[in-house]
């Protein structure tokens, strides 16, 4: 069964990718946040920003998440630079 997730990009990463988000179909075996990141960066071109950007942070279903955290069908995943509000 193919997993479909929603992926969002914010701030400098959004600008580098030229995208604020997309729906991504995950290949088999991509079951963690790190896996999702590798799949998208693997497209090459501007998408390599996802691999190269320093200190990239991520959330799964709107909660801060770590690279090893699981990603499953229907999840909302977000990638972004360290936050700078306040």
């Amino acid at each position: 069964m193919t997993m479909k997730i929603k992926v969002l990009y914010f701030a400098a990463l959004r600008e580098a990718l030229g995208s604020s988000g997309e729906t991504v179909e995950l290949p088999e075996g991509a079951t963690t946040l790190a896996g999702v990141r590798a799949v998208i960066a693997g497209r090459g071109g501007a998408w390599t920003a996802l691999a190269q950007m320093k200190n990239l942070r991520a959330a799964v279903n709107q909660r801060m998440a770590d690279p090893d955290d699981a990603v499953t069908d229907g999840d909302e995943v977000a990638f972004f630079p360290p936050v700078t509000g306040g």
Binding site: F10, A12, A59, R63, M64, F80, P81, V83, T84, G85
Partner: protein, 151 residues
Amino acid sequence: MSVSVQQADFDIGAEIDALMAGRGDIGAVATFTGLVRDMNEGSGVTAMTLEHYPGMTEAALADIVEQAKARWDILAVRVIHRVGTLRPADRIVLVVVAGAHRGEAFAACEFIMDYLKTRAPFWKREDTPAGSRWVDARESDDSAAARWQQD
């Protein structure tokens, strides 16, 4: 509602009054207001635009407030964070913590700011004479948040 993300400015006195309304058990109110400075890292700042992650922002702020309430004996909390384009001297963020005594109100207010700075999904972009740039996260914000970690 103890947490708001909004474009509109806020009135600190009115927010405190709203927290106090009808109660006589509050002896201490600590507040923090963050503002846009006209200089940052040596460059003039003419405007600042705040981007956020709608949905997660509100959830993250509510979670930070819950953590503060679990940790200190405080009576009421209000957090407002603005988004959109702001000018120097504009208010960005307000945290108000009311309690019976000052020590817990101060600690909870500072904790909420430190956590907000590292865990709430806001990003600042500054306009300077040399162009627009994203503000880099400060190492000191990570260490400020880290000192609240409990074993």
